[in-house]
């Protein structure tokens, strides 16, 4: 018989490296037509970071995402970057890119100000224009300013910037300190069906409510959550590298290392928590790793809700769940009533 259960798990996760400096540097060049190029040492690993960085630079310059071309990942041509790791790209490289764009924008304002008979501090950039704050009808197209900068003023608008999160080393004895610049938070709730005769677990639905600060691109955040949940489902139920007694892997292949296919995936509902982090670029933090962190616990808590067995060792394969169910049934006549309490000695837990 299939029993349905639901379980929740929440989590916190840091952005950036633990204490250690992990800077990113960036360069933004504004072209004579008002489009721009961003140079960044980060590496696009599939998560869409280059699009996010383009959006951040575009926002700062008041132009569109498509107007920003991103050149990345070349130690000769692009500035240093600590890397696409620790969910740091949006926050650290994003801040660096924003600062670089801001510096390029300062040059544009310096050039535009006398042309509009104002001080640079009175200018703003949005909708492809540079305009006087509070007087949008007094504006120039950003391309005209950029072209003027090159051919008349002789001041090419180039900005470079860098960012490193503020941290404080941890005391070696108590671990007290400030290891990260910021953290993100999330909750996932899983709904599962457990076959109480075979131990098979099917994940039906997962609601994932994730904080990423400002969502620079909600579509890419959804993609990260959906992908992270798939890794979480695999971690919870299927994946395991097995070793023989001599320390050699038994299943170094995709036939016997089981990872989620399209048939294993639940319905994933993505919810982005409204939030704004003033230390991040336009309030953004990050989301890459947190997406798979709470999934396994949510699923295992749901299994407990469904059939009353606590799996304490991942993956919760059907064999493990089956054995736990058997053990629970054997215990049943000796126990009166209540569900087993949470303890290491709980007979419903199986290693």
């Amino acid at each position: 018989m299939k029993r349905r259960g639901r379980g929740m798990a929440c989590m916190w996760y840091p952005i950036g490296f633990t204490v250690a400096a992990n800077p990113s540097a960036a360069v933004v060049k504004v072209n004579e037509d008002g489009t721009a190029t961003l140079l960044t040492g980060t590496v696009e690993t599939g998560q869409g970071s280059l699009t996010i960085l383009a959006q951040i630079v575009a926002q700062e310059l008041g132009i569109a995402t498509d107007d920003v071309h991103v050149v990345s990942a070349d130690t000769d041509a692009t500035p240093m970057d600590t890397g696409a790791i620790a969910s740091r790209t949006t926050y650290v490289t994003g801040n660096a890119a924003r600062i670089a764009a801001e510096k390029a924008k300062e040059t544009l304002f310096e050039v535009a100000a006398p042309l509009m008979a104002v001080k640079p501090s009175q200018l703003e950039a949005a909708d492809h224009k540079i305009f006087v704050k509070g007087f949008p009808q007094r504006n120039m197209h950003i391309g005209d300013v950029a072209n003027h900068a090159r051919v008349v003023s002789g001041q090419p608008p180039i900005g470079s910037g860098y960012f490193n999160p503020e941290t404080l080393a941890l005391d070696p004895e108590t671990g007290q300190g400030k290891p990260f610049g910021t953290y993100v938070y999330a909750t996932q709730i899983a709904e599962v069906d457990v076959d109480d005769e075979t131990g098979e677990v099917e994940v039906v639905r997962i609601v994932a409510s994730h904080d990423c600060g400002t969502a620079i691109n909600p579509m890419l955040v959804e993609g990260q959550v959906e992908g992270g949940v798939s890794m979480g489902v695999g971690f919870a139920l299927e994946e395991e590298i097995l070793f023989d007694a001599n320390g050699r892997q038994l299943n170094p292949n995709l036939t016997n290392y089981i990872m989620p296919t399209s048939l294993d995936m639940p319905e994933v509902e993505v919810d982005i928590v409204d939030n704004y982090d003033p230390t991040g670029p336009f309030g953004a933090k990050g989301v890459g790793e947190p997406t798979l962190v709470p999934t396994a616990a949510a699923i295992c808590n749901a299994i407990y809700d469904a059939v009353g067995v606590r799996i304490t060792a991942l993956p919760a394969t059907s064999e493990k769940v089956f054995k736990a169910l058997q053990a629970k049934r054997e215990q049943q006549p000796k126990q009166i009533g209540a569900a087993p309490n949470g303890g290491a000695g709980s007979s419903a837990s199986v290693h």
Partner: protein, 168 residues
């Protein structure tokens, strides 16, 4: 060495290759059609999926010699100079691909499905993608895009789903 002559994306191509050459290697190394990818070389991941005589096939499991005289469609044959195939258009707009490595294989599996079943349910789409592994996306936006592409191909409206294609 074996001589292989086959139609690839509508064009007749030939090559002379060692007999153990797979169709995947033939396409990638001899014809420079690098869309089909080598993810495992043993038929587990589906990154090498192409369509042979109308059926989706793991090209790493087919010998080049077995493809002699057949018609092969690869990802490079879907779009033409004027238009993207609706699958490619919607995969782009819905954000269905992230690292993109599994993309050609998934799209070819989807194409084979839509050729056979112009109005697949979400479950039928999942079944068709069952042999294509993806580590980045969780498959969710792929299924949305394939459903949407099936609508376009039937001349119908795409259902309102959250996507960059449909302005909110």
């Amino acid at each position: 060495m074996v001589n292989v002559t086959l139609k690839v994306n509508g064009e007749t191509r030939s090559a002379t290759v060692p007999p153990e050459t797979t169709l995947l290697r033939l396409l990638r190394d001899q014809f420079n059609l690098t869309g089909a990818k080598l993810g495992c070389d043993v038929g587990d991941c589906g990154a090498c999926t192409v369509i042979v005589d109308g059926k989706p096939v793991n090209s790493c499991l087919m010998l080049a010699g077995q493809a002699d005289g057949r018609e092969v469609l690869t990802i490079e044959g879907l779009a033409n100079a004027d238009h993207l195939h609706p699958l490619q258009k919607l995969f782009e707009h819905f954000g269905s691909l992230q690292c993109g490595f599994c993309g050609p294989g998934v799209i070819m599996s989807a194409k084979a499905l839509l050729d056979e079943n112009p109005n697949p349910s979400a479950q039928e789409i999942r079944d068709a993608l069952g042999g294509n592994l993806c580590r980045c996306t969780g498959y969710a936006k792929m299924i949305e895009a394939i459903k949407g592409a099936s609508c376009i191909l039937r001349g119908e409206e795409i259902p309102a789903v959250k996507s960059a294609f449909v302005t909110e």
